[in-house]
């Protein structure tokens, strides 16, 4: 199959690429939390401006996670061989496994970043 013929690049073996998307989610969470805390404690401006800043973080992080997810989807390359079981100790299986797991983590992180942002939409208050 075509998958067997692909070159295995160092990036394909990098486990940190798999957790890059959840890392973006964690950073987003931290940014939102710290910004809101400082904004309210130091009275930096209106709630509307705080919302705008948070939406800005969210947009950037969603784009990043989108890109990472797309890269992992490419690495999984599901439509190449429709393979979603990766249980062999071969380059292809390792590559597809990391891609598969990384893609799903990116999907999870995407949703989680949206959930992180929801308090800024529905409960925008410093009280």
């Amino acid at each position: 199959m075509a998958g067997h013929m692909k070159t295995d690049l160092p990036a394909h073996r990098n486990i940190f690429r798999m957790i890059a998307a959840p890392t973006v989610w964690a950073i987003h969470f931290l940014l939102v939390y710290c910004t809101a805390a400082l904004w309210c404690a130091r009275d930096w401006g209106s709630i509307g401006a705080l919302q705008a800043v948070i939406f800005g973080y969210t947009a950037v992080c969603l784009i990043l996670v989108g890109i990472l997810g797309w890269q992992m989807w490419r690495q999984w390359d599901y439509f190449d061989d429709n393979d979603y079981i990766h249980d062999q100790s071969t380059d292809e299986h390792r590559r597809e496994f990391l891609g598969h797991a990384g893609f799903m983590l990116a999907c999870l992180s995407f949703v989680a970043i949206i959930f992180d942002t929801m308090p800024a939409i529905f409960a925008a208050t410093c009280q």
Partner: protein
């Protein structure tokens, strides 16, 4: 020597009298009645989030019932699906259908449901923090009682009380929550949600009672050995009754004019009680313990541990630690019992 067990315990006692269980009853026969009683009464009472008497408590009760209803639907769906798959129609499905089932039921469905629940849950938060409409009540968590100060609109100095909070019905009151020494939590489930009281910080919440009544609140954050004895009474009054209440509360103490009452006043002043307690209109100006100006008209004593009766007051003065472990007030058991009773009569008469 008195011990805590000998003393009246207002809320437990009421419950115990209402229970169909009596010493000597055949407990097995009483069990179903007891169970039914438990189910019927579990949701009502002076301290129940499921029996709301305030706007915010109503919102929280709605949140609870929606979540429970949702959980029941999900439980029935999941178990129904399992029953269908294993018992009703045990036949294999294609891997493709299986994958779509996992994708739809395991990823899309919970994401959508959680997003809906999160939006709903978050959307009720701003209302719970809405600004008050005049009255502000400053409540400070002490070990182990609640210091209460009413700031009516435009007031330059507060009206002090303790262990009892009174709110007007139909108006949103602002609560300023503070703490001395350790973290406490203000929880009045019949009227509103729960907010922590943190030393060095000022937290705020607001609540709007919808009906007049008497409710019970409780410190909801472990704060030391008598944490469980740190309760308070909340009264909700119609606005005109509330104004009258506040006017009475602001007035100086009216001491009982009986001979025993007067002797009690003399003893109270002579033994230095005024070093810790304030009784407005007398030389007692202490600020360590609760304000006792109108202690006789309150609905509880010692933060819900006792009733405001002469025997309870006398028991408390004699040995507070026997009733509330770790209580900061020293015991006065070295005094002549008649003198203690006189003080109790004086305090009970401070209406």
């Amino acid at each position: 020597m008195l011990s805590a067990q000998d003393l009246p315990q207002p809320f437990d006692r009421k419950l115990a009298h209402a229970l169909p269980l009596r010493p000597g009853t055949d407990h097995l026969k009483a069990a179903p009645a007891l169970a039914a009683f438990g189910f019927l009464t579990a949701c009502v009472g002076p301290q129940s989030a499921l029996d709301p008497a305030g706007r915010d408590a109503e919102t929280l009760a709605d949140l609870f019932f929606w979540l429970v209803a949702g959980a029941v639907v999900l439980w029935v769906l999941m178990n129904g699906l399992m029953f269908y798959a294993w018992r009703a129609k045990p036949r294999p499905i294609s891997p493709k259908t299986g994958r779509w089932l996992i994708f739809g039921g395991g990823i899309v469905f919970p994401t959508v449901v959680l997003a809906g629940l999160l939006s709903y849950g978050l959307s009720v938060i701003p209302d719970q923090r809405a600004p008050g409409e005049g009255l502000r009540v400053e409540i400070t968590g002490e070990q182990w009682w609640f210091r209460v100060a009413y700031w009516p609109e435009g007031a330059t100095e507060p009206i002090h009380s303790a262990n009892e909070v009174v709110f007007p019905v139909g108006q949103r009151s602002e609560l300023t929550l503070k703490a001395d020494q350790v973290i406490h939590s203000f929880w009045l489930p019949s009227l509103a949600g729960k907010t922590d009281m943190i030393p060095g910080r000022v937290n705020r919440m607001s609540l709007e009672p919808t009906e007049p009544g008497e409710f019970r609140g409780q410190c909801a954050e472990y704060c030391g050995e008598s944490h469980a004895w740190m309760a308070f009474t909340a009264l909700t009054l119609m606005p005109e009754e509330f104004d009258a209440f506040l006017q009475d509360l602001a007035a100086p103490a009216v001491p009982p004019d009986t001979e025993v009452g007067q002797a009690g006043r003399t003893a109270f002043m002579a033994h230095g009680c005024g070093g810790c307690h304030t009784i407005r209109g007398t030389p007692a100006r202490g600020n360590v313990g609760p304000d006792l100006t109108h202690v006789g008209s309150r609905l509880n004593l010692a933060a819900g541990a006792l009733d405001v009766t002469v025997p309870d007051l006398a028991a408390w003065i004699t040995d507070p630690k026997a009733i509330k472990a770790g209580a900061k007030m020293p015991a006065y058991d070295h005094l002549d019992p008649d003198e203690i009773v006189a003080m109790a009569v004086y305090l009970e008469g401070l209406k």
